[in-house]
Symmetry: C2
Subunit: 144 residues, 2 copies
């Protein structure tokens, strides 16, 4: 897998990888940036959420679970000193759906975390990563 | 630092973190996606390029180096088996400018790699990350 990251101006960089979708990164004003895009370190939190999210939704579909909405909240704590490495990340999976099986949800999260998630595996063991999940009965919406 | 990643449809997720800039992620057609955005694992390569790129351009500015263009090529190799963890990443820094000091460039790369780059520090030591650099004399363009 290949990526190219090109300097544009100020602290703005544009990067893209093999799939061809470009992403703008920029620093905040304090470091001479213009806040036109994500901080590079934010991409780690977004990447782990997206990576495990794809695993989990895929597993729950195979298990015929009627999920109506799904989001992942990710919190990251960095060290105070340079290089300000992420020390911990905590993920909260929030599922909404109709009669979701807690067993199926629990197993989907476990499988992603222990077996499938490339981003999680690439960050660990240097970063301590944990998760929780929450299931909400959807009394209104129909299935996705 | 916080992020939220929300499922949209198919394998499409949208994520944003504290700075508020949203990023679309999607899978390829083989996994039921529609290729509308980056693969989550691609974000790791883009993030490391952007993170070290910001360090390096900032250091070279302080050293009054006349850089006219700058890009980072990132190559990542994943394991063949799940979770397909990144095993290696190699970065090639390509600098173009007027009379760039090789010593300054070398030191900027070293400082980012060893001291400042949050993304590099968060991936290592699980991922073996190395770099090279290339300096090209710019015979045409004026300074950034």
């Amino acid at each position: 897998m290949d990526a190219k990251v090109k300097f544009v101006e100020g602290m703005q960089f544009v990067g893209y990888a093999s799939s061809g979708h470009a992403i703008v990164m920029d620093g905040d004003h304090e470091v001479g940036g213009n806040d036109t895009g994500s901080r590079p370190s934010e991409l780690l939190l977004i990447a782990i959420g997206g990576c495990t999210g794809m695993d989990v939704i895929s597993i729950l579909r195979k298990k015929k679970q009627d999920v109506t909405s799904f989001e992942i909240n990710v919190h990251g704590d960095k060290a105070g000193n340079h290089p300000k490495k992420f020390e911990t990340m905590t993920l909260e999976y929030v599922f909404k759906g109709h009669n979701l099986s807690e067993e199926a949800v629990k197993r989907a999260c476990e499988l992603s975390f222990e077996k499938y998630c490339t981003v999680r595996a690439s960050l660990a063991p240097g970063v301590n990563i944990t998760y929780t999940y929450k299931i909400i009965e959807d009394v209104e919406n129909t299935a996705l």
